[in-house]
């Protein structure tokens, strides 16, 4: 291999997964109308800036960041839940020590945000913000309150299904992901443009947590399990071609 650093190849590129994600132009979600590029995206090769990314550590986390029920003097109202899962890449590799950030509405469906003024009370004991790092195996775990559904003005009688916002970094700029976790059996999916914007129905289901009775904390909290898959590497000529599926 050459010792000249300018001629060394970049590490393998990441697999492109545009077909999995919602389109930027989705008329059902009215606010996309003026906020989507019309020229079409230009292909960016995965060079050094794209295959690297911020590896943020413990300094981003403070005490109680992963337990949203203990961030105030009193306990928040609502159904206490554990939300846990594993972050992996598309090759099945766990993504260890990566920052996971969440934010959500309270049990009644109201966010602690100046822009959220619908007539549902704020909870003085709930901020709705959490952070954690995944462990060696890519696992994360939050304790929180099950968020409520809430109305919005996108269409007539529009309601957002209950959801928790998730933000993930992975290990490369290409893997950055912001998404939402939903709850199983929500009757509001049918009219939700966020949900319906995902072209493939199977892909939508990947945003739904699984009720996890086995990990319920007896006499304390229900549990939901939600695994997250970030982009994997593209195939290279050096890769073992064993078909494991």
């Amino acid at each position: 291999m050459s010792t000249d650093p300018t001629t060394r190849p970049a590490p393998p590129a990441y697999a492109r997964d545009a077909e999995v994600h919602p389109p930027l132009d989705y008329p059902g979600y009215r606010s996309t109308a003026l906020r989507h590029p019309k020229r079409g995206l230009r292909l960016l090769p995965h060079l050094l800036t794209e295959v690297t990314g911020p590896l943020l550590g413990e300094d981003r986390i403070s005490e109680n960041d992963s337990d949203l029920t203990r961030q105030h003097d009193g306990e928040p109202q609502g159904q206490r839940i554990i939300v846990h899962g594993q972050v992996r890449d598309g090759d099945g590799r766990p993504v260890p020590h990566t920052l996971v950030e969440i934010w959500q509405a309270n049990a009644g469906g109201r966010y602690r945000h100046t822009g959220d003024n619908w007539p549902c009370p704020l909870d003085p004991n709930f901020s709705g913000v959490g952070r954690t790092l995944t462990d060696d195996q890519g696992r994360y775990r939050f304790t929180t309150i099950r968020p409520g559904a809430y109305p919005w003005r996108n269409h007539d009688n529009a309601w957002r299904p209950a959801h928790i916002h998730f933000s993930l970094f992975g290990r490369a700029f290409t893997q950055r992901l912001v998404t939402q976790m939903y709850f199983p059996g929500d009757p509001l999916f049918f009219q939700d443009p966020m949900w319906n914007s995902i072209p493939d129905e199977k892909a939508r289901e990947r945003l739904v947590a699984r009720f996890d009775y086995a990990n319920t904390a007896p006499e304390w909290a229900l549990a939901y399990e939600w695994d997250i898959v970030l982009r994997g590497r593209e195939a290279t000529v050096f890769e073992d071609e064993v078909d494991e599926d």
């Binding site: 300018t6 060394r8 919602p22 979600y29 230009r42 890449d89 913000v129 912001v178 898959v229």
Partner: protein
């Protein structure tokens, strides 16, 4: 080859401000660093209105073109006080600002050299997925002309990727749509 289907993206929504901003987010390099520059700009929608509920994130090499990351085949290089990552929500006027160090050139494919650049992610209410763009620097005309990514963009649109000089650094406005629409990349 990737075998597991990835988790789809969803919008950050209108309430991103409670969850994503960090007090030190805009400081990709420590506040007060003498060589630091501000990259400021406004995020505009297709009607030319500022977007007050967006989030800008930046990722870049250090002034020597190095990354503190194990996947850089040249090795990871840490630089004290330099996070290389910036995050800033847009304010009521659609403005953001990132305080950072100007990056150095970075190796490109086939022995080419990429001009100094910063990768940018744009998130906002009304965007179901992030968009990605790049900031290039106005005083790097020769390097910009040889940059494999920038030179692949048709000439009239190339200017949308080049920051303008400003008193304390650079100005980089981002237009999501319209006549001067910023060039965005499929990453």
């Amino acid at each position: 080859m990737a075998r597991y289907a990835t988790t789809p993206s969803q919008t950050v929504g209108p309430y991103l401000h409670i969850g994503l901003p960090w007090p030190d987010g805009p400081f990709a390099v420590a506040e007060g660093t003498p060589e630091g520059v501000w990259i400021r700009g406004v995020l505009y929608d297709g009607a030319g209105a500022p977007v007050p509920d967006g989030l800008i994130e930046t990722w870049q090499a250090d002034p020597e073109g190095r990354f503190d990351h194990p996947d850089d085949p040249r090795g990871a290089v840490a630089r004290p006080g330099f996070r290389a990552f910036g995050r800033c929500p847009t304010d009521a006027n659609g403005e953001y600002g990132i305080f950072t160090l100007k990056p150095g050139p970075v190796p490109g494919p086939g022995g080419t050299l990429q001009a100094p650049h910063i990768d940018v992610s744009v998130f906002a209410r009304g965007m179901l997925h992030r968009t990605v763009t790049r900031v290039y620097f106005p005083e790097e005309a020769a390097a910009n002309a040889a940059d494999p990514v920038l030179s692949s963009v048709p000439e009239p649109e190339r200017a949308t990727l080049v920051a303008r000089p400003a008193e304390d650094g650079y100005r980089f406005d981002i237009r999501l749509q319209g006549e001067d629409e910023t060039v965005f990349f499929d990453v």
